[in-house]
Amino acid sequence: MRFVRDYLIPRLVQYVLVIFFGITAVFLIPRFTGQDPVLEIIAQIQTQGGSLDPIAVRKLTETLQELYGLRGTLWEQYVNMWRRVFHLDFGPSLFQFPTPVSELLRIYLPWTIGLFATSTLLAWLLGNVLGGIAGYFSSQSWSKILDAVIMVIRPVPHYIFGVLLLILFAYVWALFPAGGLMLGRRTVVDLRFVMIILRYSFLPALTLVVLGGAGWFQQMKLLVQNVRREDFVQYAQAGGVKERVIISRYVMRNAMLPQITQLALVLGQVFSGVLMVEMVFSYPGMGLLLYRAVTRGDYNLVMGIAILSIFTITTAVLLLDLLYPLLDPRIRHR
């Protein structure tokens, strides 16, 4: 059981520490942004036309602080936060009061998984497969053209690419909706439902897949060009092994390894692109939810999303670390 002592325990300790510090950071940072969610709400009531007098403001402030769990010192709030985290209760959203954060996560998570997890994976797969093939046949002209196209597409910001798609596919050729998925609570899940969702998700997914895939493509192409020079590839070629087998089982399989590690970590970084896409296509997802939460000082919601995300990614990384020997049998833990 030296493995447990020398490897697993330190790794788990690190896992726990990363989560601990991550959550603490996420707890602290919004509290330094100078926003007071209670005042924001009062301001909103005021600017939207409600009239409040000083007594009302004081009363309301106290009431809201009580409700939001913002009373007491920072330390008390912090302790309280951990107590709630262990109960998976992040309290009510401050800005979307009184909806509980967990309820919001429940509503948005399926969308996020449905579109962004899927398209991130799809982008990864497509980018790697295409990049792999293009890297293997890098001297052929179609590979060069593809490379050039992707090179130009990749730097285009998500927002602009999304709007361009929107203009092309929702206006010039009105093939896809401009946004506004009209599925209410009355909808039954049937083929039409699925089709509507697919149709509605197509352009956002396309944006993410193309732009995300472009990055994977470029990385994979370079990796494959290196792996192609490895002895075992050349030996298989010398041995007359069929090219298809060489590409998939020798070149791609090996070049894929660093990409797998990257994928887990990239999951945490997709928010920015996702947010832009959600903005352009009015798509209900975590990116926008998070952005709004951050900008409005909705501490509870920020905590909820961040904890979910930190937990998911850290766990993904941990699992990957533990399972990596299965993917790469050479790995040795010292």
Binding site: I41, Q46, T99
Partner: protein
């Protein structure tokens, strides 16, 4: 890749794009539906309609379609429309009692009749329950509320208040009457979701997006048992969808695709839809298109407790350093009416305040010291703006009356040399580099705390002011920040882009809403949140104004109209002399309507009601729309 795969993907894409082209939920015919944009964006609490408990994205249709207040202001007509009430509120002699008479024959959407019990219950609940936002004013003023008969309610006040009714007067929110039969069964009115909602408005909830992008309302079968129906007849659209967009582009494209009938864009967005669509119209059919009758005034706010902005002459110098013609070009592409006073230039106020004040403005004199004086008012400003807009290539009307209508009555002269004198008189100096130094010799830096929404009027003002003052030789930065509201309320700013004064009611000549925040008893030290925004955030007061406010409290705005107006004029004069904030131009809405499915929108040529889709008054517009059955 395999060709088979390629074709499979192509066919798949076509399939996806071809299926279910109709956007709307099943069974909702487009031609009977009105689709309007939701100004406040996606609903954060889609399943919650309990407006009484706090902010619930009320413009998703709750205030426009579902609920009917006692009274509603219409700033386009300058009238107050009694909704659930049958007439204006009635006060006793000393303003300690207010009587509300209800409209008879009104039913809640679940078939229960509306009675005085509902009103009594609503006020009582607010007095008792401290968690409700309107608890404050109710608890402060209401001594007792009693039902006189089924349709009459009497509210006894703790002290005199001639404007107590304003808490029930809907502009963009007020204390609306609750359905007693629903709420009395509820444990906690704060967490109660009020879903399905019940209201006295002409529509009921049909469906909504659990993700909050849209809410679908259906016209009540018994629309004739609602005040709207009784007042204006049958609302035309059978269904109304209020839909939020996260991006301007999506909103524009939706309107171009006839998937959005009413929307408020940015001026640029408005230009796009007008340019690209044959069926979209704006408030005005010609340039400058935008709604210029909004009851908000935009501008720049100083923190009057902060050096050097606590100095009236510094504030005036900064005002005179603004070239309003350029300012307007930067801020709103010259499309909005300027206002030299702290009131928006809507027709009703023009008549009541601008015209009476004009002579006084012309004669208004600033003392520059050493016996020098300066008359800052410039009635030629609208013509100068017109000239500059013409140069830009816009089709500017020639008629002087029209020009004053579009660009305002006048503003302050661009007089940097006068500003210079005022500043030097106060110890300011220019450095070697031509930049201004504060009296203590340090460089004068202004940081304008600004809104983050680039399309918004506040940031537009901040940008334009920064540009003007930079030109004048001050180092200016614009800092858009999400913490803006907090900072402004707490007074943690020197200059910001907040409304320079609270909007007036929009109807009648009562300006109490504008002046109240400046009463000296509300003056809040820096670090503490002000109670009455936005004006109060400027942290300014004046004993003369205190006196006027005091007198207004005991003046009935409905009966003593002349006196009310006179008090307003006097107060405005004080504001001009002191210039605690700089008013620049009236808020403009870049509203666009698609005439593809619906026509007879309340345009400038026929302003039968206010034009916004997000104001409570939308329900009063719907009976007038005409279907273009396609």
């Amino acid at each position: 890749m395999n060709m088979k795969w390629f074709w499979a993907i192509v066919i798949g894409c076509l399939f996806i794009s071809g299926v279910a082209f109709a956007q709307l939920p099943a069974g909702i015919p487009r031609e009977e539906t009105l689709i309007a944009d939701q100004l406040s964006g996606r609903v954060g609490t889609p399943g919650n309609f309990n407006l009484w408990a706090g902010w619930r994205w009320q413009d998703r249709g709750i205030q426009q379609l579902l609920l009917e207040p006692l009274w509603t202001v219409d700033y386009a007509t300058g009238e107050i429309i009694p909704g659930l009430a049958s007439g204006m509120p009635e006060y006793n002699e000393d303003f300690t009692q207010m009587t509300i008479r209800l409209r008879q024959g009104v039913y809640w959407s679940d078939g229960v009749p509306l009675t005085a019990d509902d009103v009594v219950y609503t006020i009582d609940l607010h007095v008792r329950n401290a968690e409700l936002p309107y608890h404050g004013p109710m608890a402060e003023f209401v001594e007792k509320v009693e039902k006189i008969d089924d349709y009459t309610v009497s509210v006894h006040l703790k002290r005199a208040n001639s404007r107590f009714h304003s808490h029930f007067l809907d502009r963009w929110g007020c204390l609306r009457i609750m359905p007693k039969h629903v709420f009395e069964k509820v444990d906690n009115p704060i967490t109660y979701e009020f879903n399905p909602p019940v209201g006295c408005g002409p529509y009921v909830l049909y469906d909504y997006d659990p993700a909050g992008f849209w809410t679908l309302w259906e016209r009540r079968e018994d629309w004739d048992r609602t005040p709207t129906g009784m007042l204006y007849g049958k609302p035309q659209p059978k269904y109304v969808i209020i839909q939020g967009f996260e991006s301007e582009e999506a909103r524009i494209l939706a309107q171009l695709r006839h998937e959005l009938d009413m929307a408020q864009h940015t001026p640029e967005g408005l230009k796009v839809v007008l340019e690209k669509s044959d069926t979209v119209r704006a408030w005005r059919r010609e340039w400058p298109w935008v709604v210029n009758i909004d009851p908000c005034i935009t501008g720049i706010m100083f923190n009057n407790l902060v050096e050097p902005y606590n100095n009236r002459e510094v504030r005036w110098a900064l005002t005179l350093a603004i070239d309003i013609v350029e300012y307007m070009a930067i801020a709103f592409d010259s499309m909005a009416p300027v206002s030299p006073i702290h009131l928006p230039p809507v027709p009703a106020y023009k008549e009541a305040f601008f015209t009476p004040l004009e002579e006084w403005l012309k004669g208004f004199t600033l003392d520059l010291g050493n016996g020098e004086t300066f008359q800052p008012y410039d009635p030629e400003v609208p013509f100068k703006i017109a000239e500059s807009a013409k140069k830009r290539g816009y089709p500017v009307p020639e008629d002087p009356a029209m020009i004053r209508d579009l660009f305002g009555m006048g503003w302050w002269k661009y007089a940097p040399e006068v500003a210079e004198k005022l500043l030097k008189k106060n110890g300011f100096s220019r450095g070697e580099d031509g930049k201004w130094r504060l009296p203590d010799g340090s460089p004068w830096k202004i940081d304008i705390v600004a809104d983050v929404n680039v399309a918004s009027h506040p940031l537009r003002n901040a940008t334009a002011a920064a540009e003007q003052w930079r030109k004048f030789g001050i180092e200016v930065t614009v800092s858009p920040t999400e913490a803006r509201e907090t900072m402004i309320l707490k007074g943690e700013f020197a200059v910001c882009d907040q409304w320079p004064a609270a909007e007036p009611w929009g109807a009648g000549v009562d300006l109490s809403r504008t002046f109240d925040p400046w009463h000296s008893r509300l003056l809040t030290p820096i670090g503490k949140s002000v109670a009455l925004g936005p004006g109060g955030a400027a942290r300014w007061c004046d004993p003369r104004l205190d006196q006027i406010i005091g007198e207004m409290e005991v003046t009935d705005p409905f009966t003593a109209v002349e006196r009310t107006k006179q008090l307003g004029i006097e107060a405005l004069k004080i504001l001009i002399q002191e210039m605690p904030t700089i008013p620049t131009y009236g808020y403009c809405g870049a509203v666009a309507w698609d005439e593809y499915y619906w026509t007879n929108w309340p345009g400038a040529e026929n302003p039968y009601t206010q034009p916004y889709q997000h104001w409570p008054n939308l329900k009063y517009m719907l009976p007038f729309l005409k279907s273009q059955k396609k």
